[in-house]
């Protein structure tokens, strides 16, 4: 049994908007073990980013509000400890990288300054030590002539380089967990490949655990050990990566996988498409949120929201129907 690093239970996050309360995350539970890479997949607005931001209490409050749940990092509940304590966790034990490397770096501060900040803060290094360490870090993430580039500002870096800087910054204090929030979405395919390769390589060298948030089922397949699929603020399926892709068991997962064009198939084939659209999140659904779009829908789906339950070895799904047989579970 490996060490459990993160254990999130029943997380609920709301946003107060002028139009009403948006139920962004509706009771999400998952775990992350040492050395593991968990992929969280879902379409825009499904609550995947909010889930991880909530764990570090980085959701802007207001309008956001963490209503319920626990996020146990080792033996501490990140949602219950003091503001001071969680600050010591951020950056030092859990690092984070974001979607858009252009807007995620401070435009009026040099890269060097931004990079040394966590080193001085968490590791208590002197300016000089921090600077040397920064050069090292930039080297690790593959930025050439690192010592010259510390003086540069973010706008002087290219998109891919900026994301490397973000990674260097997140890893500066050798955290146990790296949360990557759609880190390759804003990048081109070849640059995306560079970043994914880099993270895989760093993971091997540094042995950290990763939570990789994305909408791209392909990227997840290449990097994750375990995948959680989110829909309308719920995790609707969770399984080891191979199991999930080989035997998706939630109709939504099935639909998503089938709507992708298959690279191996040569003849033109019509794509499968999921009808309809995700629900708005203004009220908590009392039915399965996917029911209106689901081809397997049965009576029970309209009256009761299925919660995640195990259907096999470490494979969990939130669906009343066994889609292989079409019968209620």
């Amino acid at each position: 049994m490996t060490n459990r690093l993160l254990d999130v239970k029943g997380l609920e996050t709301h946003f107060n908007t002028p139009e009403g309360i948006v139920h962004a995350v509706n009771g999400v539970s998952f775990t992350l073990d040492e050395g593991e890479t968990l992929g969280i997949v879902g379409e825009s607005g499904c609550g995947k980013s909010v889930t991880m931001l909530s764990c570090l209490r980085l959701v802007p409050m207001p309008p956001g509000k963490i209503v319920a749940g626990q996020a146990n990092y080792k033996d501490r509940d990140l949602l219950a400890i003091s503001e001071d304590e969680i600050r010591k966790v951020r950056g030092a034990h859990i690092g984070m990288i974001f979607q858009d490397p252009m807007t995620s770096l401070n435009p009026v501060m040099t890269i060097g300054k931004q990079l040394t900040e966590p080193l001085i803060l968490h590791l208590g290094l002197t300016e000089k030590q921090a600077r040397n360490r920064s050069i090292e870090l930039l080297g690790i993430v593959g930025i050439p002539r690192a010592s010259d580039r510390l003086k540069d500002y973010p706008h002087q870096y290219s998109g891919g380089m900026r994301q490397r800087v973000m990674i260097a910054m997140a890893l500066a204090c050798m955290p146990d967990i790296l949360i990557a929030d759609e880190p390759t979405t804003a990048l081109d395919v070849t640059i995306q490949a560079q970043i994914v390769e880099l993270v895989i390589q760093l993971r091997e060298e540094l042995g950290m655990s990763i939570v990789w948030i994305t909408h791209d089922l392909g990227v997840v397949a290449s990097i994750a050990n375990r995948v959680a699929v989110m829909y309308a603020g719920f995790i609707i399926e969770e399984a080891p990566v191979k199991k999930l892709y080989a035997g998706p068991s939630h109709p939504y997962t099935v639909g998503l996988l089938n709507s992708l064009p298959q690279i191996q198939v040569q003849e033109k084939k019509r794509l499968y498409s999921i009808n309809g659209m995700p629900p708005t999140l203004y009220k908590i659904p009392h039915a399965c949120p996917f029911a209106p779009r689901c081809p397997w829908v049965i009576e029970r789906c309209w009256s009761e929201n299925p919660l995640l339950f195990p259907i096999g070895d470490s494979h969990k799904v939130a669906c009343w129907v066994d889609i292989k047989t079409g019968r209620e579970r």
Partner: protein
């Protein structure tokens, strides 16, 4: 980027169900989503509601001025005076000569059947109450005229600059820069003092001066809005479908670009009235005795050493002017929050 508020879809069968949370009324349809958000935002905060109430009160006062303070003599805009003595009279002092007709509301409200100087008189026995009530008309008159004229000039120049670009754009924008370098109040003061001997003492010199030096903000805003709309894909789409240039301008670009300018312009009435009052306070504009708030306030300039005794010359017209401007500012402040962040600080 924030996450999109609407969720993507492909199937119309579910449209209604998904939108049952929020019905879209005709008002929103007509205004478009952004503008609708701005307008409804205005009616949601208490600050802007207070602002609207203040503005409406002033509109009512201006409309019903003859009922509130029945006019004396031929020109209702001339403040009636009760004699010619220099010493101001405090509120409530009796009206001796030249007594106006007593309005119908006066007796039931006060139980008194003798008309008094409700808010006192200024030097020369000008009645302050009359000055304030009829001054509301002057305020709206100048405010509306100046705003309409400056917007027209600004929109024409700004859209010509944006539409033609090149050296025409450059020329117009440099002229705008030059006008913006000069302090507004000082230039309006100077220009109206030059115009006064030519046009005589009236509302005209300050109005013309304020128009001359007040259009630049609108030119800039409309220009940059047109430029940004011009780059939007729907304009390119119209071009690609062969829609003619004139129609692209009138149907695609202008309707999308002009709304912020119009809203900001409406709210500028407060500032215009403030500047106009400042000019008359400095002795520029209408002849002495014209019902106009700045003019009434300027009477106080001669009694600086004894303002503690003649406080009513400052307090009543000052409060009136402040409330008027505040009404527009309250609405404007909320507006700035609701409007696109881009717009902040542009005017």
């Amino acid at each position: 980027m924030t996450e999109k508020t609407t969720n993507p879809t492909g199937d119309n069968r579910l449209l209604e169900e998904a939108q049952s949370d929020r019905k879209i009324g005709w008002f929103e349809q007509v205004l478009g989503p952004d503008n609708y958000r701005i307008v409804t935002g205005l009616f949601k905060t208490p600050a802007s509601i207070i602002g609207f109430v203040l503005i409406i009160i002033f509109i009512l006062v201006a409309i019903f001025a003859p009922v509130i303070a029945p006019p004396v003599g031929n020109d209702p805009m001339k403040i009636p005076r009760d004699g010619f003595s220099g010493e101001p009279q405090p509120p409530g002092s009796p009206w001796n000569s030249n007594v106006p007709e007593i309005p119908f509301w006066y007796k039931p409200l006060t139980g008194n059947d003798k008309w008094v100087h409700l808010l006192g008189t200024a030097q020369g026995q000008y009645d302050i109450f009359y000055g304030i009530v009829w001054g509301a008309r002057t305020a709206f008159e100048t405010g509306i005229v100046v705003v309409i004229a400056t917007v027209l000039i600004g929109v024409i120049l700004g859209s010509v600059a944006a539409y033609y670009g090149g050296w025409i754009d450059n020329l117009i924008m440099r002229i705008t820069d030059i006008f913006m370098t000069l302090p507004y109040i000082m230039m309006a003061l100077i220009f109206s003092s030059i115009l006064t001997p030519i046009l005589g003492r009236s509302l005209l010199p300050p109005i013309i001066a304020m128009i001359t030096f007040g259009w630049m903000g609108y030119a800039r805003v409309i220009r940059s809005d047109i430029l940004s709309i011009k780059e939007r894909d729907f304009v390119l789409a119209a071009k690609a479908s062969g829609v003619k240039n004139g129609r692209i301008l009138t149907k695609y670009i202008l309707p999308n670009a002009i709304f912020p300018t119009l809203v900001l312009a409406t709210l500028a009435i407060g500032d215009v009235v403030l500047s106009f009052a400042a000019l008359s306070f400095l002795g520029i504009g209408t002849e002495i005795g014209y019902a106009d708030w700045g003019q009434v306030l300027s009477f106080a300039r001669n009694w600086i050493t004894s303002l503690d005794r003649y406080w009513y010359i400052v307090v009543y017209p000052g409060l009136t002017l402040t409330l008027f401007v505040m009404g527009w500012n309250l609405v404007g402040d909320v507006m700035r929050d609701v409007l696109d962040p881009r717009m902040r600080g542009k005017i």
